[in-house]
Amino acid sequence: MKVDEIIKAQDLPIKDFDGIIIGGGGSGMRASLQLAESGLNTAVISKVFPTRSHTVSAQGGITCAIQSDDPEDDWRWHMFDTVKGSDYIGDQDAIEYMCSEGPKAVFELEHMGMPFSRTEEGRIYQRPFGGQSKDYGKGGQASRTCAAADRTGHSLLHTLYQANLKAGTNFLNEWFAIDLVLNSEDEVTGVVAFEIESGEIFYIRSKATVLATGGAGRIYASTTNALINSGDGIGMALRAGLPVQDIEMWQFHPTGIYGHGTLVTEGCRGEGGYLINKDGERFMERYAPNTKDLASRDVVSRAMAKEILEGRGCGPNEDHIMLRLDHLGPGVVHKRLPGVTELSKTFAHVDPAVEPIPVVPTCHYMMGGVPTNIHGQVITIKNGADSVVNGLYAAGEVACVSVHGGNRLGGNSLLDLVVFGRAAGISIEKSLKQGANLKPSSNEDIEQALSRLNKLNASQGGKETDELKKEMQNNMQNNFGVFRREDLMEKGIQDLGNSREAVENIYLSDKSASFNTARIEALEMQNLFEVAEATAITANERKESRGAHARDDYTERDDDNWLKHSIYFSSTKTVSKRDVNFRPTTVQAFQPSERAY
């Protein structure tokens, strides 16, 4: 059965597993490792060879109180920073879990062989990162981000791949997942997917399905994200009638290389680098007098955007900012930041040990996603109350557990991946041991998951992927960027609404079966579009400024009305609110206060 035919559910061959993980990045391979090591028949379905996943691009590190730099460090200080960084809509039970379980998860990575940089004592090297403090913000800057030079994501991802090889995980590499299969009880029983090379298509049936599909930064025209970051898991969840949470919260990283978008790590500023405007002024001193260039990312990006808007940008068009590292000397720059040196030379044609790097705030990370509890179980809302979706889990960037709330701290994404990938694995193991049983899906249910592929294969004309993608990306870039306001957003929403029909009926001119990347890009475009529209509608609905969501027309944080998660369903295009968790189990909750850096 090949992917270029019109396919009937009853003809579809089946593959069976105990657990499947859609996505071979950090969270996916941490989850699969947990399952494979417990003897379950586990498969990772990844549209690229796993080490090509976007985790590989993470540079600076993984933040965790392992007490190497400071023996007195405390995970509760990390928790405080994360809650404050989230602008108080991070769930405190989840943040507590991540920060307290973190050291275990990081040491496990080291035991698997991850090549962390080392201190003179032989322990894991930790560097300062933005938004990091000691003693609940009272003890000055902390150095809590564990690093493998500036290739931490690469080291982590390859280590997890290696560990999975050792554990005997099945890899369905270069397979593309089309849609989830749900039974009549709305439980998830697997996914319809095809092998990209051969075009062979299957119903992959599983007792547990984990979404680990990563982010969707490609909804914007300018992004640090890989070309594969197309929000496949978000698209699948929304089409399955499940909600997304806080999807309006997009992080713009302060230092994307100007003109190209490639990231240079916050570790540059952690190692002592700083930003300057066209007058050579270290302007962050005005915006964040205490932490300066190491304020949290939303604060720094807004300051940069403001400098540019007020005419103090660098270059002939005064449209970017400069990141200085040259004062650190070639020793520090080339030794601690070798990857940044390479990227700067390649994409900005500068050696950062000699000249500053031109940078602009660039779309980087999706704080929102598919809501889950701390066990990785996906949550939907039924009659206003949380309800677990049986058979479905999510971890990593696609999930919103929520540890990042309105703004993620640097170094917390890699920690999120391993802690909650692991947590999802542990809870699946437990639930399968208890004999969790899902009702089989009918042919009709499977037909549903096949519908968009069949539509694409039957397409005879209409707009093609590239045109639709460019329209959407420019729309998102212009109307839903660092600063947002109602009139622009409403226009953006309208334009998206006008494109929906064309996106659902996208024209695929090349209908070949074998390694047809045009088919994949069309399917990815439909996923991106779901993320874009969810972002747009929710952003307009949240009438306040919080975290990364900054509005010109509602400039203040509104705790009375919006100390809440947003919840969005695509079927009705409606936004509702969900309570933020203020009930950590071992510490007192941190109450909202003014967020100054």
């Binding site: 060879f49 322990r123 090889l165 390649t346 390694f515």
Partner: protein, 246 residues
């Protein structure tokens, strides 16, 4: 990867690309695709391919990060293996020509995409993971900065395949000679102060083909987009094997 490429001043560039679709082509052929590129901006080969794909959506190649760290877009660029996303046109285009072919020595799946199974099979043979006998400590294992430095130039490998597919020894014996990428990984673990399986690793390599088919041609070194040196890693393993016999 650029968001919007200003196209005011453009020139024409002809890409000469290897084409093969197993669903319709009996044989592979070379096809010219003309694209317009900006005069005053140096694009990468990947940018040129993305522009070409807008003209002909059936053109297939792998790509992901666009910044030389994921290893997806290894290909043969004007006769030399490299990553499309970090190879600038100014460097790649010779006499107004840009010839793009799949990496040599592996079966072609479609257009610029090769079947990398053989490459990964060889990688798996070197047990590319840390092997320890002692129980894991509660915290991390200790490793001095000097011990860690031994891994520099080894752990950065992105598994793009540029080296092994530029290696004549790998072309002749892709099933028996492990190839530079796999051997670099083998040395990465032998060199790791935390690994406790050096003897088994050396035993596995001690035959006529796995390692010893390397003839020091050093194509691997000249093409590695990360500037790594598999030949040196192979010679380090050789020395270990010799010393052990000595």
């Amino acid at each position: 990867m650029s968001a919007t490429i200003p196209l005011e001043e453009v020139k024409t560039l002809t890409l000469n690309i290897y084409r093969f679709d197993p669903g319709k082509d009996e044989k592979a052929y070379m096809q010219d695709i003309e694209i317009e590129v900006p005069v005053n901006k140096d694009l990468m080969v990947l940018d040129a391919l993305l522009i070409a794909k807008e003209k002909d959506t059936s053109l297939s190649f792998r790509r992901s990060c666009g910044e030389g760290v994921c290893g997806s877009d290894g290909m043969n660029i004007n006769g030399k293996n490299g990553l499309a996303c970090v190879t600038p046109l100014s460097e790649a285009v010779k006499r107004d020509k840009l010839v793009l072919k799949p990496m040599p020595g592996l079966p072609v799946v479609r257009d610029l995409i090769v079947d990398m199974k053989q490459f990964f099979d060889q990688l798996e043979k070197v047990k590319p993971y840390l092997i320890t006998k002692d129980e894991d400590p509660e915290q991390e294992r200790m490793q001095s900065p000097e011990e860690r430095e031994e891994l520099d130039g080894l752990y950065e490998c992105i598994l793009c395949g540029c080296c092994s597919t530029a290696c004549p020894s790998f072309w002749w014996n892709p099933d028996k000679f492990l190839g530079p990428a796999a051997l670099l990984q083998s040395w990465r673990f032998i060199a790791d102060s935390r690994d406790q399986a050096t003897e088994e690793r050396l035993d596995d390599l001690d035959d006529a083909f796995s390692l010893y088919r390397c003839h020091g041609i050093m194509n691997c070194v000249s093409v590695c987009p990360k500037g790594l040196n598999p030949t040196e890693a192979i010679s380090n393993i050789r020395k270990k094997l010799i010393n052990r016999k000595g």
